[in-house]
Subunit: 318 residues, 2 copies
């Protein structure tokens, strides 16, 4: 079975770990969000790709969900001693090596997809990890500061400001000119199942879908497309998805997110059991929906979610 | 008093520490060798400039003479886990930060001289540290491997091969097109004393002098030029200077090095007391020479060497 997953960072990575357990023989292709990539200290940092790679490769810091386990911060402290920041982005020494290798390969002319493959040769994530695009896309968030509107990099909004101010708009800068990375459209076209994990619908899955060609490929794919709600009980399971959902005019409810994706994309939707009341609304909109536990408390629970998603895909398969 | 010192790495840096003690009120300008700079992991590494900066700024690893004190090697180990080397060059985590800052500033368009000044703002070395040039000069060493002549980067010859094979030639690639960094020629012209510390006469001081304009400026400067022999008792005090001296046809003796610099450059020369027999030979060649202890066993001993050099400069001042 060939499964394609459009994944952001922590939520996507943890879901994938469950999916691998649920479908150990599946060929899984992950189309990773690169809209939150950032250049720091002259280095190219791809937080979402790395979170997937480290999580599936056994190198992730389990407690925080991002970055490396057994991490130290000597380089960052030394940079700060030179007065070089930002200090709000937590790059550890082990993590730095990844960005150094990536930056060196990019400078040598390799596209991000080839670099990602090279990095994965070490981590052996057990999935094929593709960036959504080899082209630069940078998610910017419009905020208002003292009545003045200004745009900040997504990481500044998310990590530095911790989404403490309202997002007025979310713009994937460069997306309109980006091309899907090699293999992305083919994987979507040849997939038996396409899954939207409980990643952020706006700045993760939404950014991937903003790359011209990907939304169309998913919408027209022969495979059923099933998503899992990142909203449980009217609140994001983790992160601050409500802030960026508001920016695109979407309520933070499991049903509203399903309708945001819409029947054009979704063939099935999973909500948490606490949101069982939303099932009827989603189905009324034409999207088959089931209520199952959606808290990724451990790999077994996550595998059960993945199995439920695959079961719904089979059920709705045309 | 304005003193200009043409310095390599460890020997130059340790001499400078003694000179600062010997002449606490002097304005010292250091023209640093950049011929052994190397690009590693996409980062610009300037071993000699950093050795001077760390030594005078209190950050040096005292035992090994290069690199940072209290150093760790997490980034390097992680790079090796990606299969990315070279492993023979010991870049520590603290050191990496310096190269990251430097590379970022160079990429932003700052010349190496401005970058060096910015790095020194942290280290406060107590001297003005100038690279010999903002242009790229790379010392290559010609060796013979299985009867075939090939050129290797100086660092590969020195650090990887540990000068275990004969150097057939030493070539400062790019030197002929390099310009002295801003301030170098002015500092030489305005100096009251110019010193050649016991740095390598070929790959350190020699490379600096290979930048068009610097040799001429030193030769025609109004200030006396006094050097200290890096050879004591027919052997290099440290390093493998004999190997590269042989490549340029110079014997590894205190007298031969003086004659290699020659009367065109030197107005005075210090040899170690064990080489007192060489004094007559050097003076016969027209270079005033004194024998004093030249082992930099500690800062006091080094300061005494610096005082001897300054005293000889006064003695020979025209």
């Amino acid at each position: 079975m060939r499964i394609v997953v459009l994944a952001g960072g922590i939520g996507g990575a943890r879901f994938l770990r469950g999916l691998k357990q649920a479908a150990p023989d599946a060929e899984i292709t992950v189309v990773g969000n690169t809209g939150d990539d950032i250049h720091l200290f002259g280095l190219k940092v791809c937080p979402d790709l790395d979170t997937v790679m480290y999580t599936l490769g056994g190198g992730i810091n389990e407690e925080q969900g991002w970055g490396r386990t057994d991490e130290s911060f000597t380089v960052k402290e030394e940079l700060a001693a030179y007065g070089v920041g930002p200090e709000w982005f937590g790059l550890g020494d082990r993590d730095f090596a990844t960005h150094i290798v990536r930056t060196q390969m990019l400078a040598a002319g390799y596209p991000l997809s080839a670099v990602t493959e090279a990095l994965c040769a070490r981590w052996q994530p057990g999935v094929r990890l593709l960036p959504m695009s080899d082209d630069r896309v940078e998610t910017h968030v419009a905020i208002e500061v003292d009545g003045e509107r200004r745009a900040v990099h997504f990481q500044e909004y998310w990590v530095k400001l911790r989404a403490s101010v309202d997002a007025k708009a979310v713009v994937p800068v460069g997306a309109e000119a980006a091309k899907p990375a090699p293999g992305v459209l083919e994987a979507v076209a040849e997939a038996d199942v396409i899954l939207f994990p409980p990643s952020n619908p706006v700045v993760s899955v939404g950014t991937i879908l903003a790359v011209p060609g990907i939304r169309e490929a998913v919408a027209t794919a022969g495979a059923p497309v099933v998503g899992l709600s990142p909203i449980v009980g009217d609140a994001p399971v983790r992160g601050m998805a409500d802030k960026v959902l508001a920016a695109v005019g979407v309520e933070s409810t499991a049903a509203a997110v399903a309708l945001h994706y819409g029947t054009g994309l979704l063939d099935g939707w999973l909500v948490d059991t606490v949101d069982a009341g939303a099932v009827a609304d989603v189905e009324a909109a034409g999207i088959p929906c089931r209520a199952v536990p959606l808290m990724m408390t451990d790999v077994d629970a996550t595998a059960a979610m993945a199995r439920a998603a695959l079961a719904l895909a089979e059920e709705v398969r045309g």
